[in-house]
């Protein structure tokens, strides 16, 4: 991050074309790629934009607030000679900003001379610390089988009408309240929450605000809000502004920062819109070919570095259009993030909360944060066994639907019972229930004990000896 003070630059009158949020400005000299512009409309009102392309004597400018009300004649443009920067300061915690980082809570501009480029810079892989500390969220489907680590990026893949906001709020509340739940990792360390809303309704933002207030965390939260009725193009900047503050807090102020980004699908929509207006060659479903790189430039702004004690953990939320996990937004997100927590429609209908579809969910970093000396020795194999058992349950259910439950073998009937209990007792928990990891492991063993020992080939024999409670007589 570098310090830059924004100063006035050249002013140009000469807009030659306006199309959607894109405007072509003629007559500027020495315009630089990606620089910020200030646009004055006929009535003297200001809005901001950014240079997307420069050629000889022209520049293509993206107007954050959209072009409504701009005219070819009455508009002038000032090139500010710098890329987009926002102020960063600790005192921004407890405050609310718009999608470009301007305060909207009636308070003053943050008092600081630290400005940072919203684009950030890539972390050098040699400077990273590989994440190994687990965060206890108190949620069995996460702690038990998809463990979240400090410095991980783990999105929630959801769909319209599912309780992803509640789940995110519960994660944030219980993870930051770790002390009470007995999780050792938050003691004596400062945490912060950076929340960015892209194109969500006001009640979503409100819901999170209330949730932060109730848990007493509000003074540790900075909110960047670009709501459904705010200009869509601004959405492209919102997560960048949020992450810029997060990086400052984590890497310069040594805080553990939890970043919640919602809804990434709306972000992608904005990107697609800009790309289409510019007539770029699309790849899948009209999204630009650089969608992967663009998303990576957000999600990779996560992790730990050797020069700081802080960390950034990201929980992006995205609603999958038509619940389709192969849609480019969830697909490319899953290719970049370190796993995904997928919410399932059927579980949700069945009244299971949180409706985490365990099988497609994954935490890639889990293996490095659990087991002996971290959670418990049997944890990795116990997790694999639960997965294997629950996967088998799906096959058995399919078979039962064809031949009928009565026709199933004895073992398969046990799987059916196991599967139902798994969903009701392991997956299902209340919004306020904060389970310790020991409790989660205990529930898991209770469920595994419903299966014959001979089915439990993922855990080792000593573990069966120690934790298996079934009345299975075979072997």
């Amino acid at each position: 991050m570098s310090d830059v003070t924004v100063q006035g630059g050249q002013e140009v009158v000469g807009v030659s074309r306006i199309e959607g949020p894109i405007m072509v400005v003629e007559g500027g000299t020495n315009v630089s790629y990606d620089e910020v512009v200030e646009i004055k409309d006929g009535r003297g009102n200001l809005r901001r934009g950014r240079v997307l392309e420069v050629g000889e004597g022209f520049a293509v400018v993206q107007v954050f607030a959209g072009s409504t009300g701009l005219s070819i004649d009455g508009t002038s443009v000032r090139f500010l000679g710098t890329t987009l920067h926002i102020p960063v300061a600790e005192e921004m915690l407890g405050r609310i900003f718009d999608g470009l980082g301007t305060p909207i809570d009636g308070g003053p501009e943050p008092l600081t001379d630290r400005y940072a480029d919203v684009n950030g810079q890539p972390i050098n892989p040699t400077a990273r610390i590989y994440p190994r500390d687990y965060i206890q969220t108190g949620i069995s489907t996460i702690d038990g089988v998809n463990t979240l680590l400090r410095g991980q990026k783990l999105p929630l893949f959801s769909g319209a009408g599912m309780p992803h906001d509640q789940l995110a709020a519960q994660i944030v509340r219980q993870a930051t309240l770790g002390k009470e739940a007995g999780a050792p990792q938050t003691e004596g360390e400062e945490f912060a929450i950076v929340f960015a809303a892209m194109g969500v309704k006001n009640d979503v933002a409100d819901y999170f605000r209330r949730s932060f207030t109730e848990s007493g965390a509000l003074t540790r939260v900075a909110m960047f809000l670009n709501l459904a009725d705010d200009p869509p193009v601004e959405r492209v900047v919102t997560p960048r502004a949020a992450l810029t503050l997060a990086e400052y807090l984590a890497y310069e102020r040594d805080m553990h920062v939890l970043v919640v980004l919602t809804d990434m699908t709306n972000y992608g929509e904005a990107l697609r819109q800009i790309s289409n207006v510019r007539g770029e060659v699309p790849s899948r479903k009209g999204y630009p070919g650089y969608l992967y790189s663009d998303l990576a430039s957000l999600y990779e702004r996560t992790g730990r570095i050797r020069t700081s004690k802080g960390s950034i953990t990201q929980i992006p939320i995205l609603t999958m259009p038509n619940d389709d996990i192969t849609h480019p937004m969830p697909d490319l997100t899953g290719y970049i993030t370190e796993g995904q927590i997928v919410l399932g429609r059927e579980l949700n209908f069945a009244g299971v909360y949180p409706p985490v579809a365990v099988l497609p969910s994954l935490s890639r970093l889990m293996k490095d944060g659990i087991g002996k000396g971290r959670t418990r020795d049997d944890h990795p194999r116990w997790g694999a066994q639960l997965y294997a058992g629950y996967a088998k349950t799906q096959d058995v259910r399919a078979l039962a639907s064809v031949i009928g439950e009565e026709e199933l073998s004895e073992v398969d009937q046990k799987y059916l019972k196991f599967g139902r209990a798994f969903e009701r007792e392991f997956v299902n928990q209340s919004f306020t229930e904060n389970r310790t990891i020991e409790r989660t492991l205990e529930i898991g063993w209770k469920l595994l004990s419903m299966l014959p020992k001979s089915e439990l080939t993922r855990v080792n024999l000593d573990e069966i000896e120690k934790y298996y409670k079934g009345d299975d007589a075979t072997n």
């Binding site: 630089s32 990606d34 392309e53 810079q121 060659v281 790189s293 099988l359 293996k367």
Partner: protein, 589 residues
């Protein structure tokens, strides 16, 4: 040495246009703008040039100068490559960190190979020797045990007129002098090679030695030969990276080149932090001492991502030329293809399928063509094996990168989402995968193990495909409808799947299986099958076989029997004999 050759007229992301000299060459390395960012000329038209820039262009202005270098994009080759970690255009990441801190800033200029470090060098030529391109001039110790064979540039040849005595030298100090025609040239340990040009060799040899990876589903079922090419496609989370890491750890190659191409930063950090502490079972040295890392992660500039593949393969060829077996991992080639697409899109080229440029297939072919087991110019033999990960959008293998890749590889390891979600790892689908090297490497297996590996492997595959047919029936009518002989097949294939195919990369004993262990496991399972089948045919109910205690023993053998205690397989076999012998006796009447 670099003159201004033009002025920038247009900028869009990593692509810049300029007008100026007509002398600039295609693929010439240029320096762009006042900050002199590294770029490469990718298009010429009259006095217009198009340049892809390997660094972030934000803040760059039109009218700014472009400087020519007269050279193509090249890598530096010499001792010091091993244990290095570079970005896509061979900038050393540790030095960037030292100079700029935790974040990569642009404009960094560092030598790829240290000019200060001294290497213990022993000459192997003498004055008067006639030497040709590729000739080994001497040996530098690159680690305590790794011999770096210093070679004459493939384009040079002549008579040695002076040789430095054995001693310690930096890569720029003279080690010999060469008379080429009238000219005398001073030779050092350092050379440059243009990355887009394959290094020459005499000819290809047959690829008939397997690259042993210690991964059972690969070595036993779908082997790749040394000098061969394999593709590993799969949706996100199916195991591309873990498999590539496993190969990088355990493959019996002398040098590993690992390219993190447009993937996660943490995955490179993981390798960096883990490899120095893992011991290579063959050399007894830390794995890092045979590894070169190229890290151009997803958030690093996209044009350098495109270059990273070439940087890696050129380094791999260089070690091959010394007579080594090199294995190269590229994770992921799809991100590289996307980099091509991104640059092509900015150039407004006519797209072919899914926005990819029409030359995608050609580029993939060129890359995989650089794999091979060859006779080198200096008479030695070496190989480059390529394992390329493919990341198909939505996991759909019909997309262009997967489809084109299939044309240029002979080994296809198809990852399967449903196996991964059941935590069956490696989630390589045994029915969709194939290897065209089976016959080629069969005699190697016979020599090494004295056993009919191919015969056993094919029997196991037949059982697995029989299982797939039977499962279709089971899905409709349940398992009880099957005769016991067919259910015996299902008992055995469960042992194959859970006992052999499943392999946990994170568990110490299971992570690496020697070929002896692999063949013993296969033999044991087939033995179990034959004995079981005989009993079942005599009318014994399948449940008796299913409930035998030895079944659990066999499934657990992968993680309970280490590579050093293979005699335990004799014990297991004895248990089979005892337990089945009893049944056999009961039903013999």
């Amino acid at each position: 040495m670099s003159d201004e050759v033009g002025k920038i007229t247009w900028i869009s992301g990593p692509v810049v246009r300029a007008r100026g000299s007509r002398k600039v060459g295609m693929l010439e390395l240029v320096e762009v703008g006042t900050e002199r960012l590294v770029g490469e000329v990718i298009g010429l038209k009259g006095d217009q040039m198009t340049v892809q820039v390997y660094e972030e262009t934000a803040g760059m202005q039109t009218g700014a100068p472009i400087y020519g270098t007269g050279l193509p994009l090249s890598v530096e080759l010499g001792p010091g490559l091993i244990q290095s970690i570079y970005d896509g255009v061979q900038r050393p990441l540790p030095l960037i960190e030292e100079a700029m801190g935790s974040f990569i800033n642009r404009g960094a200029r560092f030598d790829s190979i240290s000019r200060e470090k001294k290497w213990k060098y022993t000459p192997q030529v003498k004055v008067g020797d006639e030497v040709k391109g590729g000739a080994i001039l001497g040996v530098a110790m690159e680690t305590d045990t790794f011999e770096h064979r210093v070679m004459l540039n493939p384009d040079d040849s002549g008579t040695i007129t002076w040789v430095a005595p054995a001693g310690e030298y930096t890569v720029t100090e003279p080690i010999a002098k060469l008379k080429m025609g009238k000219e005398e040239k001073t030779l050092t340990m350092l050379q440059r090679w243009p990355v887009r040009r394959a290094r020459p060799f005499v000819n290809r040899r047959g690829a008939n030695i397997p690259l042993i990876t210690g991964q059972r589903i690969l070595d036993t079922f779908f082997p790749v030969a040394k000098g061969g090419a394999a593709g590993i496609p799969g949706p996100f989370g199916s195991g591309k990276t873990v498999t590539q890491h496993s190969i990088a750890k355990w493959a019996d190659a002398e040098v590993i080149v690992y390219i993190g191409c447009g993937e996660r930063g943490n995955e490179m950090t993981e390798v960096l932090q883990e490899f120095p502490h893992l011991i290579d079972p063959r050399s007894g040295r830390p794995l890092m001492e045979r590894t070169v890392l190229i890290a151009n992660t997803s958030n690093m500039p996209v044009a350098a991502r495109e270059a990273s593949i070439y940087t890696g393969i050129t380094i791999a060829e260089y070690y091959r030329d010394m007579g080594y077996h090199v294995a190269l991992m590229a994770d992921s080639t799809s991100r590289w293809a996307e980099a091509l697409r991104e640059v092509s899109g900015r150039l407004e080229e006519m797209p072919a399928e899914e926005g990819y440029p029409a030359y995608l297939a050609g580029r993939l072919a060129e890359f995989y063509e650089r794999a091979g087991y060859v006779n080198n110019l200096n008479g030695s033999q070496g190989s480059v094996s390529i394992v390329g990960a493919v990341s198909p959008p939505g996991g759909d293998f019909s997309e262009p990168v997967t489809q084109h890749t299939k044309r240029f590889i002979r080994c296809f390891w198809a990852l399967d989402k449903s196996l991964a979600s059941a935590r069956h790892f490696p989630a390589i689908n045994w029915l969709d995968s194939y290897s065209e090297y089976l016959e080629d490497v069969a005699s190697w297996w016979r020599e090494k193990t004295g056993k009919d590996w191919l015969g056993m492997r094919n029997r196991a595959m037949e059982l697995l495909s029989e299982e797939s047919r039977l499962s279709q029936i089971v899905k409709l009518v349940g398992p009880d409808a099957l005769p016991f002989t067919e259910r015996m097949v299902l008992e055995t294939t469960r042992l194959i799947r859970e006992g052999i195919l499943q392999q946990n990369a994170t568990e110490a004993v299971d992570a690496y299986s020697s070929i002896e262990k692999q063949i013993r496991m296969l033999e044991l399972v087939l033995y179990f099958h034959d004995r079981g089948m005989a009993i079942v045919k005599r009318g014994a109910p399948i449940s008796l076989i299913h409930d035998l205690p030895v079944v659990d023993r066999i499934i657990r053998a992968k993680s309970t029997v280490t590579n050093e205690e293979l005699h335990k397989f004799e014990e297991i076999q004895k248990e089979i004999d005892e337990q089945m012998g009893q049944l056999d006796a009961e039903y013999r009447s």
